[in-house]
Amino acid sequence: MIYQGKQKIWSDYQKEIPDDHWYYVRSCIRQNFFPASEKMFLEICRDVLGKDVHENEHHTTCGGIAYHCDTIPQETAMTIVARQFALMTEAGYENYAASCITSFGNYTEILETWHEFPELETKIRELLWKSCRKEFKKPKYLAHTSDLIYKFRNEIAEKAKFRLVNKETGEPLRVVEHIGCHYSKMFPSKGVGGAEYPYVLAGMIESWGGNVIDYPERRHCCGYGFRQYHVKANRSYSLSNTYKKFESMEPYKPDMIITNCPGCPYFLDRWQYVIAETEGKTYGQNGFGIPVLTYEEVAGLVLGYDPWDLGLQLHQVGAEPLLDKIGIEYNPEDKYKGLDKKDLMRPELPTNLKCF
């Protein structure tokens, strides 16, 4: 691996990310899967970094899942998106930050389509007016929220209490970065670092002290693939994809995986459990899995937030070995306690995958 070669590509794919004043839209599914992630993003931006991030409770889905599952036509998706933009315009913002990778891809695709086919944009404006009596301005800047964290990665590193370094050995942690497919594979120039060697998460890992692992199936999809998972008959494809990725990263002995997509951490996490139960195979040390975290969770950890406040107990793969390596203190007793310290009860434990 020639690091300078990658740096050359990274320098070619830099995107402009404004410093402040963002209109923020959430992901449909992340709040359920990893509930602290979006909360953490807002907290880091607002409280830690002191940025202006606006959120509107009237925003809806972007229609991306339905679009990628072939259940709605693109024009419908475009009208939904147009309404989101209208909400942003109404709130007086022009920088649009999406929490979801598929949304980000969806917005990018729609903006590019409108750029190529302005008549379509006109049509969508008409449709939006007919349906909602709303008008919109296209965002001046579109970013994924990981772009923002990437932009502020060094400020976060300065304020960090922990680094992605093995406390015992002093060695940097071996970190796998997994980028959601819709981040830059469709429009390489819209992502930090392009499509082949994206830098958005690698930059965070480097700034926070870890070592990025480049393994052969790095580019491969997490396995979610919309239809592959949602149609049960296809589910083994979804699982096989994930399996392929883990087989490929296994020799590198990763300490953790960072992702920037709603689906990826979920599937990389949950399919480890399914692989363990069906094949008896685990990828972490001592029967554990490899912890899969969102970039906000990792940012929260290095900034010193309590792991259980970050919702790490909602991951199937136990994060405890990772926390021990970094040296983050946690109270095992509190793992399954709610914010009010009420017992949430313990989940049934898997047979083959060790969770704590």
Binding site: R235, S240, Y243, K244, V274, I275, T278
Partner: protein, 112 residues
């Protein structure tokens, strides 16, 4: 254990790293022309068994080189050795003898 109603599906992909090349090499020692195939498909197009078992000498050769022996055997199962493929091959490959040699070298049981 199929406790979820689905599990890892076997890969149909070709992994050249895992292909056992020895038997094909043995075949090439007998039929050095086998590798001269340029995949024009004349053999498949003219084959009377193509309509029955999908026979195609081109595909058989390819599958054997890609470690997909079972698929090759399936194609070959209705070969009648009529020799039309030999007649039409633009590279002059002796396909009839090639097929007989495959039948001698390769074994269904050997493959797990």
């Amino acid at each position: 254990m199929n406790i979820f109603g689905f599990r890892i599906s076997p890969s149909s992909a070709i992994n050249l790293d895992n292909v056992d090349k020895e038997r094909f090499r043995e075949l090439c020692r007998i039929e050095p022309d086998a590798v001269r195939c340029m995949a024009c498909g004349s053999c498949s197009a003219t084959c009377p068994a193509a309509g029955f078992s999908g026979m195609s000498v081109r595909k058989v050769l390819l599958y054997l080189q890609r470690g997909k022996e079972e698929e090759a055997f399936k194609l070959m199962s209705n070969c009648m050795l009529c020799g039309k493929c030999t007649m039409v091959c633009p590279r002059g490959i002796n396909t009839r003898h090639l097929i007989l040699s495959i039948c001698r070298i390769y074994d269904k049981e050997e493959k797990k």
